[in-house]
Amino acid sequence: MAVDPTAPSPGVPVALEPEAPLGVGEIQGEGGVGPYKLALRRLRRNKTALAFGAMFLVIVIMCLCAPLYAEHIAHTTPSANHITDKITVRGEERDVVSPEGVPTGPTWTGKFFFGADTNGRDVAVRLLYGGRNSLEIGFVATAITVILATIVALISGYYRGFVDGALSRFMDLIWAFPVVILGVALGTALALGGLDFGLFTVNGNSLLVPALIIGVVYVPYMSKPLRGQVLGLREKEFVEASRAQGAGNLRIMFREILPNVASSIIVFIPLMIANAILLEAALSYLGAGVQPPNPSWGTMIGDGIRLIPSAMHLTLIPGGMLVLAVLGINVFGDGVRDALDPRAEVRIEH
C-alpha cells in the first residue's frame, strides 16, 4: 500500500508495505514512523538508486576540485592554449596539435589526460571546469523552477477564481512554446543584450542567463500538477480548522498546505536537475547557452561534433561525462520517487 503524501500530519502512523522486512518493535517506537522516515528507509533499501546517486555525487565533487586538478596535476588553466607545445608521452614526443590541426587524443598521463582540443587546451581540465558550469546551471535553474512553481501553484490553487485563471493561462502560454525554441530564442536574445533588472544587471555571458531561462521555461511543468494538489488540499478539514483558529492566508498557504505538497516537490527536484543539465547542453550546443570561452559540457560537445571524425574524443569524453551525471541523478530521482510517492506522474519535456 502506498503512503498517502497528502496525509494531514506527518506524525500519523502509516501502514507499511507488506514486503517491508522491518521488525514490528522497530516501527512502533514512539508514536509510529513518519512518512519521510519511512521513505528514507525505503530509499536506503534501493541499492541501485543509492549507487547511481553516489556516482552523481562523485562527479559533483570531482568538478568542484577542478582548480586543484588544473594546478597540481595538469599544470594549466581551462583557457590556456598550448597549440605549439610538444609533450612527451611514455618517451615519445608528439605535438599537442598536429600541423594539420588535429589535436592529440588521450595521453592517460597527468598532462592532457583526455587529450587536447583544436586550441591546444587540456580537455580533462576543461571537462571539470565545464562540469562545474553545467552543474551550477542545473542547480540554480532547479532552485528557480522550484521556488517559482511552488509560489505559482500555492497562489493559484489557494485563491482560485480570477487569479488562478490568469496565472494558469500564462503558464499554458509558456507550455505551448516548444522548450528548445523558447530557450534558444531567449538565450540568443539575452546573450547579446544581457539583463537589466534596474537594481542589478546581468552580463550576457554570465552563467545566470542560461540558468534563469531554463528555470523559467520549466515552471509550468511543475506548477501544473502542484496546483491540482493544492486545489484539493484547500478543501480539507485541517485548512478549515486552521482558519477557525484565526490563521491568515499566508500562514495557511505556507504552514498548512506547503508541508503537504512537500513530498511532490522533493520528487521533482532530482528529475528537474537532470533535465536542466540536458537543456543547458542543448542550448549551449545551439550557441544560446554558456558563451565561449567559458566551457560547459554542452559547448564542449558542440565544438567536438564539428570535428567528427578526426577528433572523436572531443565529443565522446564530455558526452560520456554528461550522460553519466544525468543518468546518475535520474536513477537516484527514480528511487526517491518510488520511495516517497510511487504513484506520482512526473513528466518533464525536453
Partner: protein, 316 residues
C-alpha cells in the same frame, strides 16, 4: 458539448495571439537586435538606416509594428530581414524534410514505446523489465545531439553505410530518402520510446488491478485477450494523447536538435538559423506555426476526452 468546443476554440485563438505578442516582444527587447542593421548591413550609414526604418515602419510605435507584421503573415507576404526571402515559401520548402522526419519517427517511437511498455509490464520485476528500465533511463539521459553525433560517426564515417547528413526528397530518390532519414528517425525516437514505455508500464500495472480485469479473468478469458482487449485499451489513452502533442511539436520544428545534427534543412533548423541571426519574421512565423499545431492537437485531445468523460465537460 458544442459550448465546450466553442469555448476551447476561443481559448486557442487567445493563446495563439498571446504567443505572437510574446515572441514579438522578446525580440524587440534585444538592445543589439536593431532590424535596420540586419537589413542595411553592419557598415550602413545612419542615413540609410533611417531610410530603412521609414520604409519598413520601424519608426512607428511598437503595437503598430506588431500589427503590420501580423498583417503580412496573414497575407503570406512576410519576408525575412536577413535575406529578404518570403518566409512562408521557405517554410513550405523545409516542410517535406520535417514531415518525413516526424512521420517516420512518430511511427517508430509509438510502436516501440508500446512494445517495450507492454513487455516490461508483463514481466514486471523480472530481468527483462529491469533491463528495459535501464535502457529507457539511458535513453532519456542522453542528449539527442550526442546520440546523433555517435550515429553519424559510427554509420557514416566508420562503417560508411549511411550518408553523413542532409536530406533527399522522396520523389527524387526513395532509397536515398530512406538512408538519409533512418538515422534521424531512430535518434529522435529514443527519448520518446524511453518516456512512453515507462508511462505505459505504469498505466498497465494500475489497470491490471481494476475490478473489471478480475471479472474478465473470472470469466475465463485468456491472458492475451485480457491484455489486448481490456487492459491495453484503457492504458493506451494517455499514451496516445501524449503522442498527439509530441508529434505536433516535432512537425512545428521542435526537432531542432535532430535536424541540426543531421543537417536535414527542416523547419526546426530554419528556426535555429533565424534565431542566431536575430531574424524576427521567420522566428515569429515558426513559433506561431508550432504553437498552432500544439494548441490545435491539445484542443482535439481535450474534446475527445470530454466526449469520453462527461465529468470534464462540467468542470472545464
Amino acid at each position: 458539448m458544442a459550448r465546450f468546443i466553442v469555448r476551447r476554440l476561443i481559448a486557442m485563438v487567445a493563446v495563439l495571439f498571446a504567443i505572437s505578442v510574446l515572441t514579438f516582444l522578446i525580440f524587440q527587447a534585444i538592445p543589439n537586435g536593431d532590424p535596420t542593421v540586419r537589413l542595411g548591413g553592419r557598415n550602413s550609414t545612419p542615413q540609410t538606416r533611417e531610410a530603412i526604418a521609414k520604409d519598413w515602419g520601424f519608426d512607428k510605435p511598437i503595437w503598430q509594428q506588431y500589427g503590420i507584421t501580423m498583417g503580412k503573415i496573414f497575407d503570406g507576404t512576410v519576408v525575412s530581414y536577413q535575406q529578404q526571402i518570403n518566409v512562408e515559401d521557405e517554410i513550405k520548402r523545409d516542410l517535406p524534410a520535417t514531415l518525413s522526419l516526424a512521420i517516420g519517427a512518430g511511427i517508430i517511437w509509438l510502436g516501440f514505446g508500446i512494445l517495450f511498455g507492454v513487455i516490461s509490464a508483463v514481466k514486471a520485476g523480472k530481468f527483462t523489465d529491469t533491463s528495459l528500465t535501464v535502457l529507457s533511463l539511458i535513453g532519456v539521459s542522453t542528449p539527442v545531439f550526442l546520440l546523433g553525433a555517435l550515429v553519424l560517426w559510427l554509420f557514416a564515417y566508420k562503417l560508411t553505410i549511411l550518408p553523413a547528413g542532409g536530406y533527399v526528397p522522396l520523389t527524387e530518390d526513395p532509397w536515398g530518402w530512406f538512408t538519409h532519414l533512418i538515422g534521424p528517425w531512430f535518434v529522435l525516437s529514443v527519448l520518446f520510446i524511453g518516456f512512453y514505455s515507462r508511462v505505459l508500464r505504469g498505466n498497465i500495472l494500475d489497470t491490471i488491478n481494476e475490478d473489471y480485469v478480475r471479472t474478465a479473468r473470472a470469466k475465463g478469458l485468456s491472458e492475451r485477450r485480457i491484455l489486448i482487449h481490456h487492459v491495453l485499451r484503457n492504458s493506451l489513452i494517455p499514451v496516445v494523447s501524449l503522442w498527439g502533442l509530441d508529434f505536433a511539436a516535432v512537425i512545428g520544428g521542435g526537432a531542432i536538435l535532430t535536424e541540426s545534427v543531421f543537417n536535414l534543412q527542416g523547419v526546426g533548423q530554419y528556426a535555429a538559423d533565424s534565431i542566431q541571426q536575430l531574424d524576427v519574421p521567420p522566428v515569429l512565423v515558426i513559433t506561431m506555426f508550432t504553437a498552432f499545431f500544439v494548441v490545435l492537437l491539445s484542443a482535439v485531445v481535450d474534446v475527445i476526452y470530454a466526449f469520453l468523460d462527461p465529468r470534464i465537460r462540467l468542470s472545464g
